[in-house]
């Protein structure tokens, strides 16, 4: 009886789930599968095959892969170094690496726009040394740069957390039994940090695949990702059915990429970072 009464505490949240989580998903489904007259159609979903949409989706996948790969390559050694630091230094240094994440997302994009612009800081420095200027603003390269900058902490933290949990005694035991650094790495550190790597990959890949603000502001209208196509069909063309259809496709891609990563852990979605 008591237990039943305590379950009721989740009542308000259940109402919230139905009203603001399930109903919105249903709305997307409804718009995606109907035309403007309200009749059933698959045209909005199949529209992903149109050359312009297909190109945007492929570019998004490509940039998201690249961004995730760069983040992983940068973060893994970093997390390893961080986890070997002395304990009393560790907190401070980890703090230094997550602080930029706390600055507004838009202002971080602004900073990269400044750095990369034709008469910006990077090109001026290159000019001083007589090097050719980097003309990457308004190209996919600039978008990847900024994505890596924005999402890097999401890769660093889960890997670092997984590595910090590896007991020093396990590593010492392996060494006592004659394992070299390479063996220790492949037999202990890599397998035990894999859960962190997987949640890191998910936490970088999904936002990189679906973001539209970075490509909009740093791509100069030339880099069209699937997020941009969806945003434009809603906010500029007011074609909500098409936008919903493409969103549905995007949702499927997000789910598939997560299933591939085997995220059965409920914490893998977001709490893993902390």
């Amino acid at each position: 009886m008591n237990k039943l009464r305590r379950q009721l505490l989740a009542g308000p949240y259940l109402v919230w789930i139905i009203g603001f989580i399930l109903l919105p998903v249903f709305m997307i489904l409804y718009y995606a599968l109907t035309n403007s007259a309200g009749d059933f159609t698959l045209a909005n979903v199949l529209a992903i095959a149109e050359p312009i949409h297909r190109k945007a989706l492929l570019l998004s996948l490509q940039l998201a892969f690249l961004c995730t790969l760069v983040c992983l390559v940068l973060s893994y050694p970093l997390a390893m170094i961080l986890s070997t630091l002395r304990k009393n230094h560790q907190n401070l240094i980890v703090f230094i690496f997550i602080l930029p994440m706390w600055m507004n997302f838009m202002l971080r994009i602004l900073a990269w726009k400044l750095l990369l612009s034709n008469n910006g800081v990077i090109n001026t420095i290159l000019g001083v040394f007589g090097l050719p200027s980097l003309d990457i603003l308004n190209t996919p390269t600039a978008v990847v740069f900024c994505m890596v900058y924005d999402f890097l902490p999401f890769m660093i933290l889960p890997i670092y957390n997984a590595m910090a949990r590896i007991g020093q005694d396990v590593i010492e035991a392996a060494r006592d039994l004659g394992a070299g650094s390479v063996t220790v790495f492949f037999k202990i550190i890599l397998p035990l940090s894999l859960s962190g790597v997987i949640s890191g990959i998910i936490m970088v890949f999904v936002p990189a695949l679906t973001s539209f603000a970075i490509s909009d502001l740093l791509g100069g209208g030339k880099v069209l990702l699937i997020g941009n196509v969806i945003e434009q069909s809603f906010m500029q063309e007011y074609n909500w059915n098409l936008g919903s259809g493409l969103s549905l496709v995007l949702m499927v891609f997000v789910l598939v990429s997560m299933a591939l990563m085997g995220s059965h852990d409920p914490e893998g979605g977001g709490a893993g970072v902390w």
Partner: protein, 265 residues
């Protein structure tokens, strides 16, 4: 020795990558020239213009308001939900947690758009729709922080308190609450961070004339970069720095206290 210095260099390079953009913003915020590379002397005029800019201060207030209210509401709703979910059988629990994962795992843009479709159908977009949207994506973070604490809790102590005549409310206050409190606080903190930094969901669910800092900067940046933004970045960076320092310092002191107590025992 070589390994050590290679490690140092690597840390240094990543550090440079993370902080160079911020340093550039800070330096430019004091630059008395509109150019992005020429130093025209020290000035505070961008800060002055920033404070005179009504649109920015309005957006700043809106951001703080939305962050605090949505985090507060999400913490209350999420803590209650966690208590309820904890009392459920595993099948019901799995259903509730599955639904909780939807906003966590879904792309921001889809979360924002799906809510926009719902709101536009039944209501107008405005401040309340942004608040509802923020509460929705904040609650999961609270639940995921509180639930593990509840699982660690020894159910017998709570029931023993009831057997000894405590009312459920008294038993909750004296036994459950002290043990889940850290989870509630870290959940609230995460909710605030997410709200503060959100762009996509706000962008789609806000009504005309309502702007948070993120959406305002977005609109401004599409028109061009104004130097007031550098001043704003500098201020926000130092606010974040101070807040994080206080939290870090506070929590490490608490941990030390807890450790000392353990040792005394």
């Amino acid at each position: 020795m070589v390994k050590k210095s290679a490690q140092r260099i690597y840390l240094g390079l990543i550090f440079l990558f993370l902080y160079l953009p911020i340093v550039v913003l800070i330096v430019l915020s004091f630059n008395d020239s509109k150019s992005r590379v020429v130093w025209g002397g020290f000035t505070l005029k961008w800060y002055q213009r920033l404070f005179e800019n009504n649109a920015i201060s309005e957006a700043f207030r809106t951001t703080i308001f939305i962050t605090l209210i949505s985090a507060l509401a999400a913490t209350a709703l999420g803590t209650l939900a966690a208590l309820g979910i904890h009392a459920m059988k595993s099948k019901k629990q799995a259903l509730m947690l599955g639904a909780t994962n939807i906003p966590l795992l879904n792309a921001d843009i889809v979360t924002g758009l799906s809510m926009m479709l719902l709101f536009v159908r039944f209501n107008k977009l405005g401040m309340s729709t942004v608040l509802i949207a923020h509460i929705t994506f904040n609650v999961p973070y609270v639940i995921l922080n509180v639930l593990p604490r509840l699982k660690q809790l020894n159910q017998n102590t709570y029931e023993a308190a009831l057997d000894l005549g405590a009312t459920p409310w008294y038993a909750f206050r004296k036994i459950t609450w002290p043990q889940i409190r850290p989870g509630v606080f870290s959940g609230a903190l995460m909710a605030m961070t997410m709200s503060l930094d959100d762009f996509s969901v706000t962008y789609f669910t806000k009504g005309a004339g309502i702007n948070t800092l993120s959406t305002m900067i977005y609109t401004e940046m599409r028109k061009g970069i104004i130097p007031e933004m550098y001043a704003l970045s500098t201020i926000l960076f130092f606010i974040a720095l101070i807040l994080l320092l206080i939290m870090n310092f506070g929590s490490s002191r608490k941990e030390k206290l807890a450790k000392e107590r353990m040792e005394i025992r």
